[in-house]
């Protein structure tokens, strides 16, 4: 009885590649929530700190507004070992190629948080030297406004990113 229902819905294919793809997709759909859960609670961060927001970042990492309790414990100062890029502070045009290179060196899956208004939109530096937001150089997932943002804002931003990671689909292998 059940087999008949299955035959009507799921197409039993004869070509091997399509069968493999179907199986992988099914595993992916099955495993995705668990994989996302694992990823969101073990973010290895790369704090790309350039300016004053770094002070607030340090405060967030400190014991009072503990970032480690969200799983984002260890700052990995190598892009090869990190999966979350925190852009903390102003990005100048001189710094933009460096940021681009760091982002390209990170392996998938990777996410980016723009910390502070300078990283989000250029802040109040609308001039010849400042990139108007880090998203002009690399794609950004979460923007945390503030100059500098309160640590509670930062934690809220991180939780937003965690919800975004949990909602991902089709991304088991990368």
């Amino acid at each position: 009885m059940n087999e008949e229902k299955l035959l009507a819905h799921e197409v039993l294919v004869t070509r091997k590649s399509e069968a493999v793809r179907w199986v992988r997709e099914a595993i992916g759909r099955f495993a995705q929530p668990g994989v996302n859960w694992g990823r969101k609670f073990s973010l290895f961060q790369y704090p790309f700190v350039t300016a004053c927001c770094g002070m607030e970042y340090m405060a967030v990492m400190g014991p009072r507004y503990d970032l480690a309790r969200f799983g984002a414990e260890f700052p990995r100062f190598s892009p090869r070992q990190a999966d979350l890029l925190w852009i903390v502070g102003t990005i100048s045009h001189k710094q933009a190629p460096i940021l681009r290179r760091v982002y390209e060196q990170m392996a998938e899956p990777k996410w980016v948080i723009a910390f502070g208004v300078c990283a989000s939109t250029g802040g109040f530096y609308d001039n010849y030297a400042t990139v108007q937001g880090a998203d002009r150089v690399i794609p950004v997932d979460v923007y945390i406004p503030g100059c500098p943002p309160r640590p509670e804002q930062v934690l809220d931003g991180l939780m937003l990113l965690q919800e975004k990671i949990q909602r991902e689909h089709g991304r088991v292998m990368t």
């Binding site: 045009h93 001189k94 933009a96 010849y128 990139v131 108007q132 998203d135 002009r136 794609p139």
Partner: protein, 178 residues
Amino acid sequence: MAQVILELLARKLGDAIVETSKELGNETAMVKRERLVDVAEFLRHDPEIALNLPIDCTCVDWLGHRVPRFDVVYHLYSVGKGHRLRIKVRVPEEDPTCPSLTPIWPGLNWHEREAWDLYGNRFVGHPNLKRILMYEEFEGHPLRKDYPVDGRQPLVEMRPVREVATQRNPPANILNKP
């Protein structure tokens, strides 16, 4: 206290000074460009004046307001005596050079590089006059008044981002404030 400086300066090197002023407690001496090094050496080595700490070197662009166009401004302080002096030099646009005071006060090294980078004022005799704040590929001198306000020279190709609100495109008046 700094009155001493201006008097001694006027007595010793009066022909090098164009004008002096004491507005708001800031003693200022306007110096001729060709006598700048003499004045600087005197200010450093004279035991009564002894201005040994250079505070700043910067430039002012008077485009449209005044000819000669540039003013190079030095701020000096004496650690032993505690008095300050401001030196101004008028620099014309056709020849934006000025003798470097880095051999006398080595602390002016980076300040003169910044003035070159941002204003284009060349300091003759500087040991390493190259850009310090902007990158080498940058063309022009951004703090000059004829550099466009929205002039950008990106090094990396900028991703297309929809500009929601900018200086040219101010945000909508949603609260109906006048």
